[in-house]
Symmetry: C2
Subunit: 223 residues, 2 copies
């Protein structure tokens, strides 16, 4: 059975890669920068994205979000508070988003075509393992790690951090009560992914958002 | 391809269930209570288990642990500090433990046969989705949720909480800085799994361990 599983898995991932390539072309033609946010459940993706959407909208950019969860539309409701257009994807048990789900929801999302958007953020299902294998056509994959989770997570979930283009440490306002070892966390991220850019942020206070937003604008300008 | 995936997945889970049944008989014959600990990455499974092992050992029980991670033996090293026998399982990319891995590691673990053990704890890979489908033959599945993760996690990851026999809220020493809404979290757990027993704990201070240990001893006595 193992051989059949490996073959089938390769087939699924190959098909996903092909669909992701089509999506990537579509994003490029529309001139939208697409980012895929991945992390554990509860690491603060939604709060981070809500503040990012609000700050970008205030600065005059057009940003939107697709948000994945097994169940509930809690996150879409929270993100909609930013004023940006948001669409919930419920995977009903599937542990990751894939390119087919993204393509389908983009097609069905009549009130928000890609044209005219500057940024599209995809908030993946909270899971530090499975989403790493599924390309969604994004140009930038962002791995988030909260100070509450422990500094060794990059070493224990290496594929996720190794496939990321940027890393964000969240909830730095909780660093002291959590006894967060900043230098060790950064050393561990760089051990898995040398020279990756790391942003240290608090979605509550806004700390660290200035360099993060500058990074987004800079990536956006690389057309 | 979807039909083939569904069929293959059913085949894998059926085979796992058969192996889990064999394991369950083996645990029963050995007179050992086996628990499967599941949660997000970083919710404090290892610290919780380390304190549990230490307290049980001090009270004269024989307890051991199998601990699953994609990579590293960090957790086995941390748990070994409790004095209990511990064995690391590295899944090398697989997002969950399965019954075959448990059977293989039990067979290879010559210095710690099941006979003579009171408790065997299995610490699963940190993942709120995939481990829920894989029975490891355990009698008690314990879902952990830390106060840092957000109160809505049971609603967003219902299968994990629905398949659990007990729930543990961890890191309650951080409840105030995290603005944890205790009543909402408990309501959400009970919405998914009515009347499940919930323990509120701090592995740092030891708060809540008394009812947790009493529960373990009571479950142990149900032979």
């Amino acid at each position: 059975m193992t051989t059949r599983i490996v073959e089938l898995r390769q087939g699924i991932l190959k098909k996903n890669d092909e669909l992701a390539r089509v999506l990537r072309d579509r994003y490029t033609q529309a001139g939208v920068l697409v980012l895929n946010l991945v992390s554990s459940p509860g690491s603060g993706k939604t709060a981070f994205l809500e503040r990012t959407l609000r700050e970008l909208t205030t600065a005059g950019f057009k940003a939107a979000a697709l948000v994945g969860d097994l169940e509930t539309d809690n996150d879409a409701k929270r993100l909609a508070a930013s004023g940006a257009p948001v669409r919930q994807i419920n995977t009903h048990g599937t542990c990751h988003l894939d390119a087919e789900m993204i393509a389908r929801h983009l097609d069905e999302w009549t009130e928000r075509p890609l044209a005219g958007l500057d940024f599209l953020f995809i908030e993946n299902v909270g899971n530090l393992v499975c989403p790493s294998s599924y390309d969604l056509g994004e140009r930038v994959r962002v791995a988030l790690l909260s100070v509450t989770e422990g500094e060794d997570k990059p070493l224990k979930y290496p594929t996720m951090f190794n496939s990321a283009d940027a890393a964000v440490i969240t909830k730095i306002d909780l660093a002291i009560p959590c006894e967060f070892q900043r230098d060790e966390a950064i050393k561990n991220i760089h051990e898995i992914r040398p020279s990756i850019e790391i942003f240290e942020t608090s979605s509550k206070s806004g700390a660290g958002f200035e360099p993060w937003l500058a990074f987004l604008k800079q990536e956006r300008s690389k057309r």
